[in-house]
């Protein structure tokens, strides 16, 4: 769907940039090259250190951020599924996002006022920023082969930011856990009981 939107809106100036919050490059390549019906022709970058997640305040996926010609954020991080495949879970109608995107690109309609943008932002708690530092330290240690210390700091990150999917679920493949298995279902129930924090279109 993102590829289709690119083919529709790219000629009118839109540049999609897919940012993969993945540690394993092969997993990203498989998604970008094999899974879609056509090869992706827009940029796909790999953010192993979650630089974009930290700088933009992204806590879950799939999330979009709209940036205008003057480097201004005109729509802050929001959950935006490409299609309605997981609508029962997301509770989000993907066409609303895509229609607003068309209005912005084709007709220059700003989706939100500045105050509305700020109202939707979720500034990070200090614990979340510490969790991001702990996660980054952990992946550096794991890449260097220091399994014990890496796991310890990853656990620290997950404890500090229990509702951040980029940290909680994103750590599952790194820890050798199935991100679609029991560890995920346990986390999902905990997150839903907490009121699905950080999840809004």
């Amino acid at each position: 769907m993102w590829q289709e939107l690119y083919e529709e809106l790219g000629p009118h100036g839109l540049v999609p940039i897919a940012v993969a919050l993945d540690e394993d490059l092969d997993a990203v390549k498989q998604w970008a090259r094999d899974e879609p019906p056509v090869p992706l022709t827009y940029p796909v970058v790999v953010d192993r250190d979650h630089v974009v997640a930290e700088r933009y305040g992204i806590v879950n996926i799939p999330t979009t951020v709209w940036i205008d010609e003057h480097d201004r954020v005109v729509r802050p991080p929001s959950i935006a599924p490409a299609d309605d495949k997981f609508r029962d879970f997301t509770q989000i109608d993907s066409s609303v996002h895509h229609a607003a995107l068309r209005s912005w690109v084709l007709d220059g309609v700003a989706p939100l006022t500045d105050d509305e943008i700020r109202g939707r932002q979720i500034p990070p708690e200090p614990e979340v920023q510490l969790a991001r530092a702990e996660r980054r330290l952990a992946v550096h240690l794991l890449r260097a082969g220091d399994r014990e210390a890496g796991e310890r700091h990853l656990t620290a990150a997950m404890t500090l930011a229990p509702n951040d999917w980029t940290i909680r679920r994103g750590s599952m493949p790194i820890r050798g856990e199935d991100p679609f298995g029991q560890a995920f279902f346990d986390f999902y129930q905990e997150w839903e009981a907490a009121g699905r924090p950080g999840y809004g279109a």
């Binding site: 993102w2 100036g13 839109l14 540049v15 999609p16 940039i17 897919a18 940012v19 993969a20 919050l21 993945d22 490059l25 990203v28 390549k29 998604w31 970008a32 940029p43 796909v44 970058v45 790999v46 630089v51 974009v52 997640a53 930290e54 700088r55 933009y56 305040g57 996926i61 799939p62 979009t64 951020v65 709209w66 940036i67 010609e69 480097d71 201004r72 802050p76 912005w104 690109v105 932002q121 500034p123 990070p124 200090p126 920023q129 510490l130 991001r132 530092a133 702990e134 980054r136 330290l137 952990a138 550096h140 240690l141 210390a149 700091h153 980029t166 679920r169 994103g170 493949p173 991100p179």
Partner: protein, 138 residues
């Protein structure tokens, strides 16, 4: 205490510094810390560019002519993740700093590798409308 080198990752940029491990902290040479983080200790406090942050407890910050990395992070209000045994430290942006950045509505720059390991920057597409799509295989 043992002399060693350590790596400080600040704003995702890694710098190797001379350091001494001391219990659960690292003592870093002031010049090296300035190289890694941009912050220099002056009489008025910790300074970078035109900004100086007063230091309340200079005795905790400076020991044996070195700067205590944990005290440094506390003085600047920045989160620090540290593994002294591996001589590795990561400084993140403070939550206030991120909040101010978000509220400015200015898109933070970034440069990341694509699938062929070529760098791609947000600024490569300056002057155009951009749609960031954060996703993952998990």
């Amino acid at each position: 205490m043992s002399d060693t080198t350590a790596t400080i990752v600040d704003d995702n940029c890694a710098t190797v510094v001379h350091a001494t491990q001391d219990d659960d902290t690292l003592l870093v040479e002031a010049d090296d810390l300035a190289r890694a983080t941009g912050w220099t200790l002056k009489p008025e406090g910790l300074c970078r560019d035109d900004i100086c942050v007063p230091v309340r407890d200079r005795g905790a910050l400076v020991r044996d002519h070195h700067i205590d990395l944990r005290a440094f992070a506390v003085a600047l209000g920045r989160p620090l993740a540290l593994e002294p045994g591996a001589a590795l430290a990561v400084l993140a942006e403070g939550s206030d700093g991120v909040g101010a950045q978000l509220a400015s509505l200015t898109a933070p720059p970034f440069t990341l590798p694509d699938l062929d390991d070529n760098p791609v920057a947000l600024a490569d597409f300056a002057g155009r409308k951009r749609l960031l799509i954060a996703w993952a295989s998990w």
